[in-house]
Point group: C4
Chain length 228, copies 4
């Protein structure tokens, strides 16, 4: 009885997991090519745009199929699969799901509670990296042709993203176009929340490590007075 | 016995809730019109100023009536209704009360403990948005006519508020007038506290979600070794 | 038996409390006059310097007397009275002790656990204000005569302190002299720790308030289904 | 039975502890000399480079010997001795081990749980200082000869590190070379995590201190009403 046959939803997830992971890599590559290719390379740019569109449709289709297979109650599905819902809106976050699958495999073998903080750090950190990369592409796309902009190269955009996500904010390079600033605000808010989660979890993890070291102290060090 | 007739205070609250919510929207709109209307539009500016004044008087009046209806002990009233006291001083925060009423309705139907962190995030986030909007209006009002100022448009002011509340602080636009800087300091301190609360709660919520996923693990994944 | 006669240490503390509080106000005023008075006002500057010196000697003397009265074991005294030790080094923090005395009086009347987070916020916030004021005076003293400095008035120095303590850091005014930068680094580190404590406590307090509101929910709202 | 003879691993650690601590000081000094010595001083620069290389080899050798002595299972060794693994990669962090040894000696004499937060603050703070010093040397090395750079002296680099680690980020001095910016990003991320840990622990410690003071309240203050 404990070895239930997998539901149709689980079967679908198992079969689509790997193809969709590759699709997400394609999506990110396509987006990067679309933005970073010079204006004259029409073929590359159009092809990349098509790839982005097609892979996005894959994600939306997958979400729809699973919503149907789960059998009604869409609100519950959305709440239970909040990560998947987010991925449909921002497909650059798709690689996060890979971490989740890896976690699930680990959880089947090890005890599940181990490394709660590490997993939060990994998730939040990876989200920050993926969001930061998307943000750098988006801001570069908006800014690099504006005459007043200080973001000239993609390297500048990456540097700007790093100083923004960590809230350092030197201000040596800043967006000036309205859309660039809109992306920047989104990035600031997400970065604040995600890196706050990383920082908080790191702090909690550090305290946990120190506490464990106290308890794991080899008995030879302390047990002397208790020995007969 | 369990179905107490509502007290006079509760009756007053029920009847004034919706009118006062609309009054708060009027207040914010009036304040925005007052600040953003061009100098030449005397009629608009004076009318908006009047609306701000009248709605403010409504809030003060409502607070006074409820203080009287609560029957003595003003200090206890102020402490118990700290949000309302704050709203009398800063009426732009009034929409927060709507969230509270919505919460109370939800609490009557669901179990009250659910979503503690989400509610803190929602409250603190909404406060930050409302304070930020008021701050942007105030700083724009003070700065946009100063010859040395870098805040020229309302868009600049909003961008400045976003980089201030998230403590990024590029410094590409900064207030230079004394009153503008005073508003800025107030915004920094509130922003630090509110966004710290958002960040901290988000971090706690994320850890909670991960912990729950550990516990909600479908039994088919782990129970095999325990099965007979 | 419960009404022990006060020890000699306690008697000394009771008698010196108020005079030393006034001395601390004198110290801060003297320091401010010393820094802010124009160069030509020799009399004011010298007088203020003397006041600073004398009040500082009072604090050192008080600390010495109490160390002796406590009867040996200086290390334990230093650890137990960490706030007093800090005050001897940085007498601008002295007003913090007043808060402590006030707390102790409150603790005798009310239940002591109440308002843990509020007290941390109050202490850390007041420390930040006192440190910030001292830092603004110190940086203004170092910077306002340097030809490359952007800190020209005391108002600039206060504005700089605010953006530094909240880690916003626009960079529109920054110290350029070595001593000014040294004070700035001290301020950054203290500000980070103190405002981190304020933010963290505010966040915890907010969560506590929300949790209490859940529990204080008037019974008429929820008990209906449980009623007979 | 409680007085086990030390294992070969423990004997090795005891004998190498002090020499390796001196080696780490040599490493840091050598690195500093290598970077700060003027270009013309070939002898000093080459000697310092040699010292850096030799001491680094010592650390790698020590790690290898202990890995072998621990008897197999390298993965468990790496996880258990995570600090040592980090030190092999970044030898400037070596002095952290001294703190650990000191802690271990303290733990043998006192009760081990005391001062959890203080130790986290000390570790994370010392790591931040050591990383910051290395980062200042590295960035100075990369930047001070670039014509567009604003980091001209080692003092500028230290000032830049301080405003970066605390996330203030004035932007008056910023790296412009790609390698300088890479070091900066590493520093921002580490700084955020480490100072977040310092801030969080300081906040927790402060709350703990306040809570303890409540409990340590002298009984004469409160027990009166309970007395017969």
């Amino acid at each position: 009885m404990h070895d239930d046959p997998p539901t149709r939803e689980e079967l679908w997830e198992r079969r689509t997991e790997l193809p969709l992971f590759y699709a997400s890599l394609l999506f990110i590559t396509g987006y990067a090519v679309r933005v970073l290719a010079p204006r004259s390379e029409h073929l590359w740019r159009d092809g990349a745009g098509l790839v982005v569109l097609l892979t996005w449709l894959c994600f939306i289709g997958d979400y729809g199929v699973r919503l149907v297979l789960s059998g009604g109650r869409p609100l519950r599905f959305v709440r239970r699969h909040w990560l998947d819902t987010l991925i449909v809106v921002l497909p650059t976050l798709r690689p996060l799901r890979m971490v989740k699958v890896h976690d699930a495999i680990q959880a089947r073998r090890e005890r599940p509670r181990r490394g709660l903080y590490q997993r939060v750090i990994m998730y939040a950190g990876l989200s920050a990296v993926l969001l930061g990369f998307s943000g750098a592409l988006g801001v570069y796309h908006q800014e690099h042709q504006d005459p007043h902009s200080s973001i000239r190269t993609f390297g500048d955009a990456v540097w700007w993203v790093c100083e923004t996500l960590t809230t350092v904010g030197y201000g040596d390079v800043t967006p000036v176009t309205p859309v660039g600033r809109l992306i920047a605000v989104g990035l600031m808010v997400c970065g604040l929340a995600l890196l706050g989660a990383v920082t908080g979890s790191f702090s909690s993890w550090l305290i946990q490590v120190f506490r464990q070291e106290d308890e794991e102290e080899p008995p030879g060090n302390r047990s002397s007075p208790e020995a007969p």
